[in-house]
Symmetry: C2
Subunit: 367 residues, 2 copies
């Protein structure tokens, strides 16, 4: 019977150079060539060099799936994106994927991508990719405080790397941005501009970053000698609509904030909307600083000042951490963090209005 293999245009590849071709050309056996190329210690240095040069010259490249059959390793990093997620991070997806892909291919690895519709589907996808040995490990984006994906991989003893941190760091390698430092710095900047009533709109509390950024905000307030008013703090705003609502709520308080720090850019763009509706000018009447670095923020008026994340570099770092993890390095040695970069674009300035004046302006526009 004839099946796919030979009906298809592509076949087993006529003139591919195999390890046997290399060993024949050198008068060695393929086992020697294999060990030479894989740096076994029982190969003489001269032989190793001869083999390397010949392999190079003949253009020999081992097939990863042929290696996999014995080693069990596919040389592939896995990534499962969840479609159910709000699209707060969608703008960065391309950059992030590019980074992951480049980090992988720098080591001769590939990126195997899957998409899932909901958390259950995500876990199923992980399981089937593991069962079929599609990948050697996973990158876990958008970590939660308590994350079932981590539980699963820990239990199955599959290597993984987090983009973010999590409550229980056991067996976890990660790369993360110090959002808490950014929030603290944001407060510091606003205080230096003369703000004293500063609000905070946090992101989704299920995400691990939320508690950290909140703590960073509070630390900044404390450092500046300012009181953190519970009424000026909100949670779970990751979209423009949610950010707008939370900002409106704060602005309608008897003593509204003169500045609002947002944990994510989308929420800050919601603050823009709320400000517009209340007749407040962002950057003078009301200041806001945010975090993410979305392209949308740059196009707003005024452009949004934000702490920007380099998603391309993040992705590539994660790939290389994961590969090192798969190669056996201790997770504790594979934990990197980085500072987000502040982009000062004008959405924060000295308070043009007092809290009371803002309250008046808001009341006026409510009528």
């Amino acid at each position: 019977m004839r099946t796919a293999a030979d009906q298809s245009v592509q076949n087993t590849g006529a003139n591919r150079v195999t390890i046997s071709d290399v060993s024949d050309a050198l008068g060695l056996t393929k086992s020697t060539v294999s060990r030479a190329l894989n740096d076994y210690p029982d190969i003489a240095e001269g032989t190793r060099l001869r083999v390397r040069r010949m392999a190079e010259k003949m253009g020999y490249n081992p097939l990863s799936f042929a290696q996999a059959i014995r080693t069990g390793l596919t040389r592939s990093v896995g990534l499962v994106i969840q479609m159910a997620d709000h699209d707060a991070h969608r703008p960065f997806l391309a950059e992030f994927l590019a980074g992951v892909s480049q980090g992988a291919s720098a080591e001769g690895w590939t990126l195997t991508l899957a998409a899932a519709n909901d958390p259950d589907h995500t876990l199923e996808t992980f399981s089937s990719m593991i069962r079929d040995r599609k990948v050697d490990g996973f990158i876990i984006p958008r970590t939660l405080v308590h994350d079932d994906r981590i539980e699963l991989l820990r239990r199955k003893r599959i290597p993984f790397v987090l983009f973010g941190r999590t409550a229980d760091p056991t067996d976890c390698a990660w790369f993360d941005l110090l959002g808490e430092d950014a929030m603290q710095d944001a407060v510091r900047r606003l205080a230096a501009l003369g703000h004293s009533r500063i609000g905070f709109i946090n992101g989704g509390l299920q995400y691990n970053y939320a508690a950290l950024r909140r703590d960073g905000f509070l630390l900044g307030m404390q450092e500046a000698g300012l009181e953190a008013d519970a009424h000026l703090m909100g949670d779970d705003a990751v979209t423009i609509a949610e950010g707008r609502l939370e900002a409106l709520r704060m602005l309608r308080l008897p003593a509204p904030p003169t500045a609002i720090v947002c944990a994510v850019d989308m929420a800050a763009l919601g603050v823009y909307r709320a400000a517009a509706e209340c007749g407040l000018v962002i950057g003078s009447d009301l200041s806001t600083l945010s975090y993410d670095g979305t392209p949308d923020g740059a196009h707003a008026t005024p452009p949004l000042s934000t702490y920007a994340v380099n998603f391309t570099r993040s992705g590539s770092t994660l790939s290389s951490l994961l590969i090192r993890r798969i190669r056996g390095e201790d997770p504790q040695d594979l934990r990197e963090t980085e500072q987000a970069v502040f982009l000062d674009r004008g959405s924060a300035g000295p308070p043009a209005l007092t809290s009371g004046e803002i309250a008046g302006r808001v009341a006026q526009h409510a009528a």
Copy 2:
């Protein structure tokens, strides 16, 4: 020497059920089991059933890389995204990838993703993925009129499927949306609303869709008995900035358009900007219809009426077409098209102003 394989937590997989386990359980040889599962004709129907049931019961799943070593097929579809592209299509990337991934996994295949920085890098990436047999075929997004990627794959005889069409259809399978029909329909709608001076802002001419959409626009004009004024036609606008410039150019003509059809949503959002600068209200003073269905359009005021593309379904269709192509089906039988869906959201209405009145308004705002 101990290398990656056994230092890593994951190893060759203790209790995995192999084809030999199945054959032993049945008292058959593994060759018989293999042929039974692959529907060879020289296996008795009863045997085939016995084998299937036992394989099912024991939870046997062949390893794709073990099959690949003999068949040459990895059961993986390849996709290379170009980062250099303007980000007109970025918002859809997640949906598109989800579709491709789901279409692949429906057949037990996977998606191997790579990113490239420029056209040359793209071709190199294709070549190395082919050399290392990472994938069995490729999905080619955003096809150009003359596309080097297609040339390469045609030459190397690697199966591929286009998202879009191209000048030379030889060996090409594809899925595409009938943008030309959408443009024609847009003109029809505008004409029905009473517009007679209708402008057209096209996308990048290197893309295959551009000529098609232009022809669709012209056909619509002809059908409506309207004159297509060359001054009211522009090209290569795929960003907000480019759309704005082209719209401003048209609005400053002695006889400006009362409606503008755009080939891509981003250009239409540029029309919004231009209109705002000229004191024109979109949907009454100036109408616009567009194509893509970006989320951004839904948030504009008024929301942008546009012909929307279902990128998830597009991706999944492309995957299944590619798999059929790899299995040997004739490319000519693997060509599907679909209509974009019109979303009427209010950016087009009966002309509130004549062309002359618009010219007056524009001149007034220029001062």
